[in-house]
Symmetry: C2
Subunit: 300 residues, 2 copies
């Protein structure tokens, strides 16, 4: 019998491959006009990334017995929103980054105007996708999914977190302020991934839904804490994106506020809280538990 | 009794005021964090514009007996998408414009990064709004509305049209090529406004739906032809945006390809075709007919 670790690795590999194939299918063909835009959209999305949000959607869907074909839709919708945010985040007026997932960023490979439109069009595509393929058992749930994704992406979610991020450059933040920023910037979309994955399956009791959301909050925050640790410790080659950048730009991070050791402790505490939130779900939450470990213990 | 013209002017004024109030209500408060982003979103959307797309949505809704409160939702959702596209279009990497609706553009009044996020967040808000207020009689129709808006905004609609626009700078286009660009760039969202307005009311027969769509196509194209004529003829002060810019940037326009007189003839021909498409709708299409005239005969 395979070890739990080997089994988990096989599962993540299978989901990542499945999601890559679904993204490939859902994105407009690079030969379809406007060809340059469609080619750039594919460049931005395909062939890279850990696909953490799709993995979370699939793991949450497992906990509610969701069909894999529905999970393809919600996982890809969330990943398209994430991919658009990276393209815009890398633009010269934002983080001005030239490297992403080991490749030149979209505005470097194409041009700034195209990168702007790529992000805009990927956001639209996420919503088009979400309503175009029966991602939930009824239309009312599908509408709720759109609401979840739109809120998570917008000014009270991810875009709002990026605005807080802009305002925080060069400032000394407290830990609660930093947490607030990340709850919006990365946490909102991670929570949406878990919620949408769960909604693709059978209805959950409000209490279970709330536990799943608590899990997602812990994992979302842990993800960011670990990102900061890796940014401080790892090399550009390992990360596939420019390392040490936050510090160089005067951006507050968990490491700059708490130091390296206490940041690592915080990540592990969040991992344990995520596990605790899953109590009572039984075997069907095994992938979610595994992902909490994967996110905190990753090296890139 | 008021003249038809005075009556139409009163109606447009009332709808514009109603839409302004609804946008004011639907946009996040400028005192709600992140305050700078929310303030900039309000700056980008409120207090300006002809509100052509909301007027079309209200006029189409009149033809299907839609509630005004539902029309508020669809009109504002479409207008938010339009407003986001203007903010991104004005950025230095796109048209690099400093004046919009008689005010400094968002990136001039705020900064480029904020303007980028304003556009991103306005797009999300459009979808959040559309599903959050029961804009149609049932959930299935609401889902179809989301699909319509997302497709109109995305790479096969508005964003795609902007990509074609980028590629066409300095090129000599044929009239069909120019038409293809505008069918995407402005036409798609105008068609969506008419469609969503109609969907907010009672179901239409496929034949009537198709006639309404033909009307919208004609009006959408006429709108652009007239824009080109005004850009060539009017002053910056009258337009509230920089005049003569397309020619200066080497962008193909109807005027540069057809000349001024033939462009005016084309606009009037499209206006007559729009009227013809409405035959059989009777009195309930009076506002749509009036809008076709308004769009072609406007002076700004």
């Amino acid at each position: 019998m395979a070890s739990p670790t080997a089994d988990f690795a096989a599962w993540t590999g299978a989901v990542q491959a499945r999601v890559e194939a679904a993204l490939e299918r859902f994105l407009p063909s690079g030969s379809h006009a406007p060809a340059r835009l469609h080619g750039a959209m594919r460049y931005a999305v395909l062939g890279g990334g850990k696909r953490v949000r799709p993995l979370l959607a699939f793991a949450a869907g497992e906990a509610t017995g969701a069909d894999a074909s529905r999970l393809d839709v919600v996982a890809c919708a969330v990943e398209l929103i994430h991919a658009y945010s990276l393209v815009h985040d890398d633009l010269p007026c934002m983080d001005d980054d030239v490297l992403r997932r080991g490749k030149p960023t979209v505005h470097v490979e194409y041009d700034e105007a195209t990168a702007l439109l790529v992000g805009d069009a990927l956001q639209s595509l996420a919503f088009e996708l979400l309503v175009g393929h029966g991602a939930a058992r009824d239309a009312a749930t599908q509408l709720d999914m759109v609401r979840t994704l739109a809120t998570a992406a917008g000014s009270r979610g991810m875009a709002g977190g990026q605005a807080i991020d802009l305002e925080s450059v060069g400032k000394q933040l407290t830990v609660p302020e930093l947490e607030l920023m990340h709850i919006h910037k990365t946490g909102a979309l991670i929570r949406a991934a878990v919620r949408l994955g769960a909604q693709a399956g059978d209805p959950l009791s409000p209490e279970r839904f709330e536990r799943l959301d608590r899990y997602a909050k812990c994992v979302g925050l842990a993800f960011q804490v670990v990102d900061d640790v890796l940014d401080a410790e790892a090399s550009t080659a390992t990360l596939g994106k420019t390392a040490g950048k936050d510090a160089a730009q005067g951006k507050p991070t968990y490491v700059s506020i708490l130091g390296l050791e206490r940041s690592k402790e915080l990540a592990d505490q969040l991992r344990r809280e995520a596990h605790a939130a899953l109590e009572g779900f039984g075997a069907c939450s095994g992938r979610l538990a595994g992902l909490a470990d994967f996110i905190v213990l990753r090296k890139f």
